[in-house]
């Protein structure tokens, strides 16, 4: 089985994120860049499927030069090969262009499964897996808390507000996974050393047969008009519990008409 895992480098989950004054894009330089936490589950799921059913796992990432670290991280977890789409013209691309780039890199490569994390911790749009499925014209099995393979079929449990839906499709399919699906492995020392020797293909936009004018900030179909830090909240009332803490909250909630 051929499995692709799409991963994104994002600012460290615990870092304060900011937009840059000059072009309203996310500051990706100042904070440490890490493999998007939710993508770790996607990598782990891909590795588990490959281990159980046989197959090869290719990591695919679009991002600036330093995103190569993120591709290596996934390789050190055990993926076999990497594709890094890196091109200055991609800066400021919206989700529409990003999905076009990923779809172009994934198309016609014979992937049976294309696995994503359910969202990135920076943009948090949760639309890329669906957009890529739309572009590739393949089945969309997203927000999976469980993935199982039987022959050429893949079945998932899609998390919903009311519980979950069991959804099945014939491969090829785009899958996205939620974090409760597995426990991502830590790269071993051996894995880190092995990753250095694994093949990573670096592709530019032109290599994908895409027009440079169709990607990047100027080609985006939405634009930021302005942004500002949220005004700090006025300090609230903080009291110590002297045996009446619960009653004091109740009085406050009564004043605020919640009770």
């Amino acid at each position: 089985m051929k499995i692709a895992v799409c991963v994104k480098q994002v600012p460290d989950t615990w870092a304060e994120k900011t937009l840059r004054e000059q072009d309203s894009t996310l500051d990706r330089e100042s904070p440490d860049g890490v493999l998007n936490e939710l993508d770790e589950y996607a990598v782990e799921e891909a590795l588990q499927i490959a281990e159980a059913h046989g197959g090869e796992v290719t990591v695919v990432s679009m991002g600036p030069a330093r995103a190569a670290e993120t591709v290596r991280k996934a390789l050190s977890m055990g993926a076999d090969a990497g594709i890094h789409i890196q091109d200055d013209v991609l800066h400021g691309s919206d989700a529409i262009a990003t999905s076009a780039v990923l779809a172009a890199a994934l198309a016609d490569k014979g992937f049976d499964l294309i696995i994503f994390g359910s969202e990135s911790t920076d943009a948090r749009m949760s639309v890329i897996p669906a957009m890529v499925a739309e572009r590739l014209g393949v089945a969309q099995l997203t927000f999976a808390q469980r993935v199982s393979i039987a022959g050429t079929d893949v079945t998932i449990e899609r998390v919903t507000d009311y519980g979950f839906d069991t959804i099945t499709a014939a491969m090829p399919a785009v899958v996205s996974v939620v974090e409760k699906i597995n426990e991502p492995r830590y790269p071993s020392f051996k894995g880190i050393m092995a990753a250095k020797k694994k093949p990573v293909e670096t592709l530019a936009v032109a290599d994908l047969g895409l027009d440079a004018a169709s990607v990047g900030q100027a080609a985006a179909w939405s634009a930021v008009e302005d942004f500002a830090a949220r005004p700090p909240k006025p300090a609230g009332t903080i009291v110590s519990d002297d045996g009446d803490g619960g009653a004091r909250i109740a009085s406050y909630l009564t004043e605020q008409k919640f009770i």
Partner: protein, 319 residues
């Protein structure tokens, strides 16, 4: 006046229109003439409420294929309506389904998409609260039919009574929609509490709750207020409370009228999911916990003393 398509969500069991959908109809009126789009059965019973909130039309797509396949049938129906009506905008809820519908519809119709808007003005400029609520962004779609996903509890639903008429639309779905099939829907018991992202009040527990037994204290407080129960990642990772109730950067984003955080330190991971709550009350042993920086009212103390007392007081005052 151009129509504004609003994807209306309704409770699968009761058929009642979700409050969040009435919020979307309220926003849609700023941009044009709201038209609801309804998937599945039960639209006839909903005509009154849809009309009350300003929908002059409801497009009804009720067929077996719509139910049997996830997400894509909704994109098929909406893209046909976009082609036919050239609406001023399409507004969908910021649910998992809603965001995916919006993303695919944007690709299919050549339109820009803005997710997780908390407001939309008459010129189509959307307000988003990003990075855990630390930054407010105004943005606009610059190509095609603007598509927005809007978070629950962003605006108060306001009635604007009109007469709503139903129009049946084709439910013939595309070949790609049929590539995935729903074989079973499993409804988990939620004990009669409101949906987490829709609830007006959310009561959450974190590391300080100490274990799954401790959550009974949180649930009792929630039930006294008719609230939903949430949990921090520390609590869901430890297996004390089911994962689907996680509030935070890797869980749900909520913006209720009132958020009560119990035994939650308020790390950025958690704040990212609740910072836009209208009012925050916090109970924590540690006076230095960052959650107090967000709190309108906070008590430094043991939640197992404070919370049961609060629950008793609420029940007393309610009677």
């Amino acid at each position: 006046m151009a129509k504004v398509l609003v994807l209306v969500e309704h409770d699968a069991a009761s058929g009642s229109v979700k409050k969040a959908s009435l919020e979307l109809l309220t926003l849609a009126r700023r941009l044009g003439d709201p038209a609801a789009v309804w998937f599945g059965a039960g639209s006839t019973a909903a005509l009154t409420v849809l009309g009350e909130y300003g929908a002059s039309t409801v497009y009804v797509a009720d067929g077996d294929d719509v139910k049997a396949h996830p997400v894509v049938p909704m994109v098929d129906v909406l893209s046909a309506l976009v082609a036919e009506l050239s609406p001023a905008a399409v507004i969908v809820p910021s649910s998992a389904d809603g965001k995916e519908v919006a993303g695919r519809l944007a690709v299919r119709t050549g339109s820009g998409v803005i997710t997780d808007a908390v407001d939309i003005d008459a010129s189509g400029v959307a307000t988003q609260s990003v990075f855990g609520g630390s930054t407010v962004v105004h943005s606009k779609v610059t190509s095609g039919t603007p598509i927005y996903t809007v978070r629950s509890n962003s605006v108060a639903p306001e009635p604007a009574p009109t007469t709503c008429t139903a129009q049946t639309v084709s439910t013939e779905v595309s070949a790609v929609a049929k590539t995935a099939t729903v074989v079973e829907r499993t409804v988990a018991s939620k004990g009669g509490r409101p949906e987490l992202t829709e609830a007006a009040v959310v009561v959450s527990g974190g590391r300080g709750v100490g274990g799954s037994e401790g959550f009974s204290v949180i649930e009792k407080l929630a039930d006294s207020l008719g609230a939903a129960v949430g949990a921090s990642r520390a609590a869901t990772d430890a297996g004390w409370y089911p994962h689907q109730y996680q509030v935070g950067q890797t869980g749900k984003t909520v913006s209720p009228q009132l958020y009560i955080a119990n035994g939650i330190s308020g790390a950025i991971q958690h704040r990212a999911g609740m910072q836009t709550s209208k009012m925050v009350v916090a109970v924590n042993k540690d006076a230095e916990a960052p959650i107090f920086e967000l709190a309108d009212f906070g008590v430094v103390g043991d939640l197992f003393e404070v919370v049961p007392q609060l629950t008793d007081e609420i029940e007393k005052r309610a009677n």
